[in-house]
């Protein structure tokens, strides 16, 4: 007798649990029970569990009957012709989904050749253990596991063609690769997802060698002439928004060039490039914080006196400006209505990003690196045929990481380029290396992928041959031009009187706790004081009660709120410390400043 549970609730007992499970499964395969329901028999607890609820991880497996898979060649041909679909296989009980509990009752064969009579299921293919982005990595079984993981992470960061209708979209921020290519060495997922419609990189000629010390520590050297021909150019699109919002009391924002005299008026020069309607025209080049849409808003909270102020002074400038530190060309201007019926302006600004020193690139094998040098092709080594590498990659990046998959991709890519055909190398189904070697030799190349290179400086042949080939590289969304930031003077926050934080707010760079310790370790105490001097304040303090006092500027009189007129001492301290004292007072702790006689 086994207990039977449905979704954790006890419903009854079964005399012959094994038979019952078999019966239930048969019914499910025949379509009498929905295919989302899973059954499992836990013999160590003598329990049958039927689960129908949501949130279970399930995976498809081919059903085995009498040691033979139910999926036959016939089915495969029919699928290829488009006569049957995936769901037909499920409805006809050829493939079923198992959850983690039912999986415990199954014996799954990885490949059809190791099938025995005991097996109940067959894996669709060994490569289904990989997810979507990991499946983009060719030859993953030749790389170390962690590298495949890194590689799949970086596939997600690559700049490519994320959408084919990007010109009609107004994403807040998007990147588009100007000349995207489909990869020479592909995997099954490229066919499944039609990745030729949105590729994520370009095929480049790579030479694995060190070069003038500029590719140490994973840096790469890029061919300047290739860059000038358009290699890895990308556009950064950013959308700016302006809405004519309506407020209570009939007031509203106005899109247009602000009149002089408005609060915060930026001067005539700032609005010169705007047409009459205050909305910028396409193809105008904008630089640092230039105005894109002119706009004015009413002052929000009207005080009793404010009513007597003239109209103009009651309005403040709220134009939409280009982000700090960015530039670009106005690409598209959309004028529509928002959901509330307000006038809505969306402006897309594009900025061309050409590869520069510090930009990050990666192949699909977890081999990332930044550009260390961009050098003209006349200074780069060349082969007998005059082939000049696009990227020079340091061989030291290979032995410790053991990414043999990358080396295979280089050879494979070279063969593809020579034959004019793409080659598919998904996980566990690689093209044999032998085939690549033969193809290379047939085309008059060395089978090991090495080539003789000539020094561009002297014209002499290098004493060593260099491993060269074609490989798919991705430009990752970590561009120096988006990140570079420095400040000498700039805005401070109102509360703490300390510099703002973050690039978009022109923030300062924090000299943190550990950096502070370094200054102390050097004994540079005056430098330390100067570095933390931004929020320095002089505070009048009552010498009697030790609390901050007032300075009445009108009467030019200093007095203590507690003791009245008393002796007041000026004390220099960090403003942040004054805040701490205030906070202590709010906690009912009395911080008394004991002042010394001069």
């Amino acid at each position: 007798m086994a207990d039977v549970f449905i979704d954790g609730r006890f419903v009854g007992q079964a005399k012959e649990p094994e038979k019952m499970i078999e019966f239930l499964r048969e019914k499910r395969r025949a379509g009498k029970i929905p295919d989302q329901v899973n059954f499992s028999y836990l013999d160590y607890l003598n329990e049958i569990r039927v689960v129908t609820d949501e949130g279970r991880v399930r995976r498809p497996l081919i059903i085995i009957e009498n040691g033979k898979p139910k999926l036959t060649q016939e089915h495969i041909e029919k699928i290829q012709k488009g006569e049957i679909m995936w769901h037909d296989l499920i409805n006809n009980g050829i493939i079923e989904y198992l959850d983690t509990e039912e999986e415990e009752n199954a014996l799954v064969a990885l490949r059809s050749e190791n099938l025995t009579k005991e097996h109940t299921h067959l894996e669709l293919d060994p490569l289904v253990i990989f997810g979507i982005s990991t499946s983009f990595v060719p030859f993953p079984e030749f790389d170390r596991g962690d590298r495949v993981n890194f590689g799949s992470k970086m596939v997600g960061q690559s700049i490519g063609l994320y959408s084919t209708n990007f010109l009609r979209r107004v994403d807040t921020k998007s990147n588009i690769l100007v000349y995207p290519q489909k990869s020479l060495v592909k995997t099954h997922i490229d066919d499944v997802l039609h990745s030729e419609n949105h590729p994520g990189g370009q095929n480049i000629v790579i030479a694995v060698m060190s070069f003038k010390c500029f590719n140490i520590e994973d840096a790469i050297i890029m061919n300047k002439s290739s860059v000038e021909r358009g290699l890895f150019w990308s556009y950064l699109f950013r959308t700016y928004e302006a809405e004519e919002k309506k407020y209570m009391g009939g007031q509203e924002d106005i899109i247009g060039i602000p009149e002089p005299g408005v609060k915060g008026y930026a001067g005539e020069e700032a609005y010169k490039h705007l047409p009459e309607d205050g909305i910028i025209n396409p193809e105008i080049h904008l630089t640092d914080e230039q105005i894109i849409v002119g706009k004015t808003s009413p002052l929000r909270f009207l005080g009793s006196l404010d009513q007597f102020i003239t109209d103009l002074e009651n309005i403040r400038e709220t134009s939409v400006k280009l982000r700090h530190g960015e530039e670009g060309i106005v690409d598209r201007v959309f004028i529509t209505e928002s959901a509330d019926g307000n006038k809505l302006v969306k402006v897309v600004v594009r900025d061309l990003k050409r590869p520069e020193i510090g930009d990050k690139f990666a192949s699909r094998h977890g081999q990332k690196g930044v550009i260390g040098l961009i050098i003209p092709e006349e200074d780069l080594p060349f082969t007998e045929d005059g082939v000049i590498p696009d990227i020079i990659f340091n061989p030291h990046s290979i032995p410790s990481r053991m990414t043999i998959g990358k080396l295979l991709e280089i050879i494979g890519g070279k063969v593809c380029a020579l034959n004019g055909k793409r080659s598919s190398n998904p996980a566990f189904h690689p093209t044999p290396e032998k085939d690549f070697v033969e193809a290379l030799e047939k085309n008059g190349f060395k089978g090991d992928g090495k080539e003789a290179l000539y020094d561009a400086d002297t014209g002499e042949k290098y004493t060593q041959d260099v491993f060269m080939g074609n490989v798919f590289y991705q430009k990752l969304d970590h561009l120096v031009s988006n990140k570079i930031h420095a400040r000498s003077r700039g805005p401070i926050t109102l509360l703490t009187k300390q510099p703002t934080e973050g690039k978009s707010k022109r923030g300062g760079l924090r000299l943190g706790e550990m950096e502070k310790d370094c200054l102390i370790a050097h004994g540079a105490s005056l430098l330390l004081k100067e570095r933390f001097d931004v929020d320095r304040t002089t505070l009048p303090v009552c010498a009697e009660c030790g609390l901050p006092a007032f300075h009445d500027k009108v009467k030019d009189k200093k007095f203590c709120p507690v003791c009245g007129e008393s002796k007041i001492v000026e004390v220099e301290m960090a403003y942040a410390f004054k805040l701490l004292l205030d906070e202590l007072k709010s906690m009912l702790i009395y911080p008394k400043i004991i002042t010394k006689e001069e």
Partner: protein, 379 residues
Amino acid sequence: MLKEFQKKSLENESILPSIILEEVEKISKLKNIREKKKSELIETLEGIYLENSFEPGEAIGIIAAQSLSEPATQMTMRTYHFAGSAGLQVTLGLPRLIEIFDSRKEPATPIMTVYFKKEFNNEKDVENFAKKIKEKKLRNLLDSVSLDLTNKKIQIKLKKIKESEKNETIEKIKEKIKKINIKVREDNISIEPENHELSIRDLQRLKKKILDLTVSGVNKIINVVVIKEGNDWIVKTFGSNLSHILKMDEVDYSKSYTNNLHEIQEVLGIEAAREALIKEIRETMSQQGLNVDERHIMLIADIMVFTGEIRAVGRYGVAGMKSSVLTKAGFEETTKHLVRASVRNEEDNFKGIFENVMINQQVPVGTGMFDLVAKIGED
């Protein structure tokens, strides 16, 4: 300090500490060094001494902290797990370093290294010793144990052991646990408490007490390994009981060692604990291929032990002993320290580093340690 040096040199006195001078005296007597050579030696030593003493105002505490914590961050990134010598698993690397600085009462892997006197320094004696000290609990000698609830009895079935060992075990039970009647039939022992009113829970407690009984060996010594190191036979133990082991006849008490610092402090005193602390830190670092200047370790060890007991580096130890309210509040448990200070009417006189950084005043280290004073009217 410099003034002191000058004064000493004016009085033709050496600036060296008396311990070093005594050492020089001892060596020159031993090696028959002449007076002229000796003064030359002292001069060289003075040079080295001056070279190695820090300058006034140097932030040695922070430098020591940095010198240890920088390699410690290296350790987090690559802690090698190699098996401890001769099959004993020892905590190494960062976990051990944290353990030392946290001054845990009991290390995760207490290890003792026992050396032997000359007459016992041979394989046979050492093997016997190792067997003798290994702690054996009754639990390890049992085949089965059961509670007879109706008759309020505990039934024990022993494993097949020597007759002498069996008798010894029974004697031990009789000796250690009072108010029981023991009946023995072959390998079966039945234990009946004299008090028949015992509840089942009390019976359970008694059973546990009997099972945890140490039948033979030294308390806490869980495992023993005999190794030969050079000419010495040594015993490494897992588990540490220094006071008991040092008292044993075979043991060379001048060399035997444990990695339980608190035990060393209790048995051998705080100076020994300081030495052991320095040794443990140094060895943990150098096992990972990291070398830290001994003086940094010595400074930290001094700070940890100068009160007479080992204190942890942290909230309840070294950092908690700081005098400044603001420094303590800025470190950990801010509200607790602030409230306590306000209730006790504490004062902060801004003599330390951290509190002066907080109010942005000159920090009393390095260049900020000294003031220029002009004496007007004097020449």
